[in-house]
C-alpha cells in the first residue's frame, strides 16, 4: 500500500506542502484546498493526511470510491453525488471538503508535496 507518511518532529510548519497540493489539484494557493493539513496550533505541528485505511470506501453509496492496485483510495468525481458520507466516516478527518467544491477530496499519495518539503517531514512509503 502506497501512503504519504508524516514525521511531525521534522515539520517546521512552513505550509509548503499545502501550497503544492492545492496548486496541483485546484490551481490555487489556498490551504483550504489542500489534501494535507498542517496545524501549527500544536507543537510539533499536527499533520493530517489520509492513511488509506479504506473506511470511506464501504460508506460510499455510488461506489465512487475505489482502491487502486497500489492500495490508494481514489475518488471518481463523475460518480460522486457530493453526499459527504465519506467525510463523516473518515476516522482521521482526512476526507476534505471546502466551500464551493462539490466533491470531497483526499490525498492520493502522488508525492508532489514531498518535493516541496525542506525537511523531509513527509515521505511516500509503500507498506
Amino acid at each position: 500500500m502506497k501512503v504519504l507518511k508524516t514525521y511531525p518532529d521534522k515539520c517546521i510548519g512552513c505550509h509548503s506542502c499545502e501550497s503544492a497540493c492545492a496548486n496541483l489539484y485546484f490551481k490555487e494557493d489556498n490551504a483550504e484546498k489542500s489534501c494535507i493539513v498542517i496545524s501549527t496550533d500544536f507543537s510539533p505541528p499536527a499533520m493530517n493526511v489520509c492513511n488509506q485505511c479504506q473506511t470511506c470506501v464501504a460508506a460510499c453509496p455510488t461506489m465512487a470510491l475505489t482502491v487502486n492496485n497500489q492500495g490508494v483510495v481514489m475518488l471518481n468525481k463523475s460518480l460522486c453525488i457530493g453526499c459527504l458520507m465519506c467525510v463523516a466516516v473518515c476516522p482521521t478527518d482526512s476526507m476534505r471538503t471546502c466551500l464551493g467544491v462539490h466533491s470531497p477530496f483526499k490525498c492520493i499519495a502522488c508525492g508532489v508535496c514531498t518535493k516541496s518539503c525542506p525537511t523531509d517531514a513527509i515521505k511516500i512509503v509503500t507498506e
Binding site: T62, M63, C83, L84, A88, V89, H102
Partner: protein
C-alpha cells in the same frame, strides 16, 4: 422484449428551480392522453408538494362516489421540494395516494427507492395516473431525452423481484448504467386480492440486484393492476449534488454533514439502524409488553426471544451502504443475501430479501405466533415479490388464526389449511394462494373488514366478537404495536386519517412508559402536534427516521426531547437552503395543517368523515377475552383500584372485564372530544369553517363539502 409503442409525449427538459419543476405529468392509460399541467402559485402556497400535490390533483380527478376500481380513480405519486437532494439523510421519498380498495378513502404511502427522485429530476413534481387500459401496459419516462411513452407489456413474469430487474436491464443504456433506472411494480397477488402494495426499486450496485421498497398500505398494487399497468419505469442519468438546484448548497451540505457525523457517532449505541434497521425494536417492544402476539392479545412472550434483533442481525449482510436513496447515512434498508425459500415457485433459488423491518417481523412473526426469523424472512420475500402488504397480511392472518382457534373457522372452511398459531407453512400457503388467485387465501386477502362480514353472514359467527378482535379501523388493518395501555396511542392509531398506521403519531413511550402526557389536554396536544409534524415529511419527500431514530447527544437535556428540537431546526434550515423561502417551526406545522385538514375533508367527501369511523376495535383498547384479562390480571385489577377506586376482590372476571371496558371506552370518547377540539373540529370530527379560514384552507370546494356535515 417485443413491445409496441401505444402513445408518446415529448417535453422540454428544464432545470429544477429551488426544488420545484412547476409542472405535473398527467397520464390516462385508458385514453392514452399524456399532458403536462402547470403548477400554480396557489398549489405551492397551500399544498406545498408531495402528499399535498397528490391529494390536490386527485380531488380534481375523482367524484364523490368514485370507487377504487372506477376508471377515474387516480394513482398519484409525488416527491416534494426537498426530495432528491443528496445531502441530508432520508431525502428520497415518494408519496403515493389513491382511493383505497380497503377503505374507500384516500390512502397515502411514503416510500423510498430511486423512482421518486429520478421522476422528479426528469421534470415532474407529481405523476397523476388515471384511466384503465384494456391491454397490459408499462409507462416509461426517459428523463434524459424528455419523453413519456406507453408500451404494451407482453411480459410473463410480473413478480417484482424478477420483473423490476428485467426492466432495469431492458431500459438501461448499458450494463454499467443500471443504477440510473428505477421501476414501480407489484406482483401476481395484486390481480386477486386487496391487501397489496407497490414496490419501488433501487439498483444495488454492490449486490447487483434490484432492491425493493414498499408503498405498503391500503391496496395500491390492486389499483395499479386494475388499471392494466404492469410497471412504471424511469431513467435519469444526470444526478449531481446540485440537481435539486438549492439556493444555498453550502448550508444544505453542512447540515447534512452534521447529521452524518451524529449518526456515525451515535447510531451504534442508539437505534443500531445501520446494523439491523427498524428490527432493533423487537426485544424493546417485547420487554415493554408492546410486541403484538397472537392477534394483539399479548405484548410479551418468552418465545419472542426467537425474534430477537440479533437473529436478524445475523441474517443481514453487514457493512453495506444500505440507504434507500443517496446520502442516507442512517442506511436502515437491510437485506438478507442468498436466501433460499423452502416453499413456492422460487423454492431453492437464491434471492435477496429486503428486510424484514420491524413491522414485518412483528406482523408476519409474533402476531401470528411465528418465532423463527427465517420463516419471517420467507414470508417477507413472498409478500414483496407478490405485491402483498406485510402489515395487512400479518394482521389479517392473525385474525383468521384467532377465528380458527375459536372454532369460527375449521379445516373445512379453510380448504384444509391448519391455521393454528405459528403454522408458517399454512401462512405461506395463504400467500401462494393469493398469488395464484385461489383458495382461502382469496378470502384473507380481502382484509379484515370484509372477512368480518363474511364470517358473520356465512358462518354465523358473532359479529360483536368479530368486531372486537378484528384489528382494523376505516377498513385498514392496524400496524404492529400494542396500544392497550396507551390511550394516546389508541388515538394515534384510530384517529389517523387513512386508517390505523403509526406514521401519524407514535406516543406509546411518551404516554405509557414515561407518563409525560397525563391529562386529556396533554394527549390532545400531542395528537395535534405530532401528526402535523410528521405530515410535513410527506409534503417534502422526506423520511421520518432520521428525525428521531438518531438523536443529538444532548437531546435529553433540551426542553422538549420528544420533538428533537435540533433536528427540527435542521429541517427548517434545509427547507430554507433549498427553496429560499422563509420557514420556522410554526410555519412547518401550518403547512401540514392545511394539507391534513384537506385530507380530512377529502375523506368526508368520500363518505368516511364520521366520529364513528374513529373508534377502535376493543382489542386495541383492552382485554377482549378472559384469557387476556387473566394473563395480566395483576395490572388490570390494580387499575380498578387505582383509577376507579373499585375493590376487585369478590368480583368475577367477567364483572371486572365489564368495568374495565366501560371505563376504557369512556376514556377514549373523552380523548376524542379533547383532540377534536384541539384540532379545530366539531365534536363530530368536522373541521369548522372558522378553523379552515384561520389556517388558510377555506377554498370553495372544501367549504362546500364541510357544509354538508355542519
Amino acid at each position: 422484449m417485443n413491445r409496441k409503442l401505444l402513445a408518446e409525449f415529448k417535453y422540454d427538459l428544464a432545470p429544477i428551480v429551488r426544488g420545484y419543476n412547476r409542472r405535473t405529468l398527467y397520464l390516462n392509460v385508458g385514453t392514452r392522453e399524456i399532458t403536462s399541467k402547470p403548477v400554480s402559485e396557489m398549489m405551492i402556497e397551500k399544498f406545498v408538494g408531495g402528499k399535498g400535490f397528490d391529494l390536490y390533483l386527485m380531488w380534481q380527478g375523482v367524484k364523490d362516489d368514485t370507487k377504487w376500481n372506477n376508471p377515474e380513480n387516480e394513482i398519484c405519486i409525488s416527491f416534494g421540494p426537498l426530495c432528491g437532494n443528496t445531502s441530508y439523510p432520508g431525502s428520497g421519498k415518494s408519496i403515493v395516494t389513491t382511493i383505497s380498495p380497503l377503505t374507500g378513502i384516500p390512502v397515502d404511502c411514503n416510500v423510498g427507492g430511486h423512482f421518486g427522485p429520478y421522476a422528479k429530476f426528469s421534470g415532474w413534481d407529481a405523476l397523476e395516473i388515471q384511466g384503465k387500459s384494456a391491454e397490459e401496459v408499462i409507462v416509461y419516462i426517459d428523463g434524459d431525452k424528455g419523453t413519456v411513452q406507453i408500451f404494451t407489456a407482453p411480459d410473463e413474469e410480473i413478480n417484482s423481484h424478477i420483473f423490476a430487474e428485467e426492466l432495469i436491464k431492458e431500459f438501461a443504456d448499458s450494463p454499467d448504467k443500471l443504477q440510473f433506472v428505477s421501476v414501480v411494480s407489484t406482483g401476481t397477488a395484486a390481480d386477486h386480492v386487496n391487501i397489496t402494495c407497490l414496490n419501488f426499486s433501487f439498483w444495488d450496485k454492490r449486490r447487483k440486484v434490484a432492491r425493493l421498497k414498499q408503498a405498503g398500505r391500503g391496496g395500491t398494487g390492486t389499483v395499479f393492476r386494475d388499471k392494466g399497468i404492469k410497471a412504471l419505469v424511469v431513467k435519469y442519468s444526470g444526478l449531481k449534488v446540485d440537481t435539486n438546484n438549492p439556493v444555498d448548497l453550502l448550508t444544505l451540505q453542512q447540515t447534512g454533514l452534521k447529521l452524518h457525523k451524529e449518526i456515525e457517532a451515535g447510531d451504534a449505541t442508539q437505534c443500531r439502524m445501520h446494523e439491523v434497521g427498524t428490527a432493533h425494536l423487537m426485544e424493546v417492544m417485547n420487554d415493554y409488553d408492546l410486541l403484538p402476539i397472537r392477534n394483539f392479545k399479548y405484548g410479551q412472550m418468552p418465545e419472542a426471544i426467537g425474534l430477537h434483533s440479533r437473529e436478524f442481525t445475523a441474517l443481514f449482510t453487514q457493512g453495506m451502504a444500505d440507504g434507500c436513496w443517496y446520502g442516507c447515512s442512517l442506511s436502515c434498508c437491510k437485506a438478507v443475501d442468498n436466501f433460499k425459500p423452502r416453499t413456492g415457485p422460487y423454492k431453492g433459488q437464491p434471492v435477496v430479501v429486503d428486510g424484514p423491518e420491524y413491522e414485518t417481523a412483528a406482523g408476519c412473526g409474533s402476531n401470528i405466533g411465528i418465532f423463527d426469523a427465517k420463516d419471517v424472512v420467507e414470508i417477507n420475500f413472498y409478500c414483496d415479490t407478490y405485491g402483498v402488504d406485510t402489515i395487512s397480511f400479518g394482521t389479517s392472518t392473525a385474525f383468521v388464526m384467532e377465528c380458527f382457534e375459536n372454532g369460527i373457522l375449521d379445516l373445512a372452511k379453510t380448504g384444509g389449511l391448519d391455521l393454528s398459531w405459528g403454522n408458517a407453512d399454512a401462512a405461506l400457503e395463504l400467500l401462494h394462494q393469493m398469488a395464484r388467485g385461489e383458495g382461502f387465501g382469496l378470502t384473507v386477502g380481502k382484509g379484515v373488514r370484509a372477512m368480518k362480514a363474511i364470517f358473520a353472514k356465512e358462518y354465523g359467527a358473532d359479529p360483536a366478537f368479530l368486531q372486537d378482535i378484528g384489528m382494523e379501523a376505516k377498513g385498514l388493518e392496524y400496524s404492529q404495536y400494542m396500544s392497550k395501555e396507551s390511550l394516546a396511542q389508541q388515538g394515534g392509531y384510530t384517529l389517523a386519517l387513512k386508517g390505523p398506521q403509526h406514521d401519524e403519531a407514535w406516543l406509546i413511550f411518551m404516554d405509557m412508559v414515561n407518563n409525560h402526557i397525563p391529562t386529556f389536554k396533554d394527549k390532545a396536544e400531542a395528537l395535534h402536534y405530532f401528526p402535523m409534524f410528521r405530515t410535513w415529511f410527506g409534503l417534502q419527500g422526506l423520511c421520518k427516521l432520521p428525525w428521531n431514530d438518531i438523536e443529538p447527544a444532548n437531546n435529553a437535556e433540551t426542553s422538549e426531547p420528544a420533538k428533537v428540537p435540533e433536528h427540527v431546526q435542521n429541517y427548517v434550515d434545509i427547507y430554507k437552503a433549498i427553496t429560499g423561502k422563509p420557514m420556522d417551526k410554526i410555519e412547518m406545522i401550518l403547512q401540514s395543517e392545511r394539507v391534513y385538514n384537506f385530507q380530512k375533508v377529502f375523506c368526508m367527501r368520500m363518505g368516511k368523515g364520521r366520529r364513528i369511523d374513529d373508534v377502535p376495535p376493543y382489542r386495541a383498547m383492552g382485554p377482549v377475552t378472559e384469557e387476556e384479562y387473566l394473563s395480566r390480571s395483576e395490572r388490570y385489577d390494580g387499575q380498578l383500584k387505582a383509577k376507579l377506586n373499585i375493590d376487585p376482590i369478590g368480583k368475577t372476571t367477567a364483572e371486572k372485564m365489564k368495568i374495565t371496558r366501560d371505563y376504557r371506552e369512556d376514556q377514549y370518547q373523552q380523548l376524542m372530544d379533547a383532540v377534536y377540539e384541539r384540532k379545530g373540529w366539531t365534536p363530530e370530527g368536522v373541521p369548522t369553517i372558522e378553523h379552515l379560514r384561520k389556517i388558510g384552507m377555506d377554498i370553495p370546494e372544501v367549504i362546500e363539502v364541510v357544509s354538508r356535515y355542519l
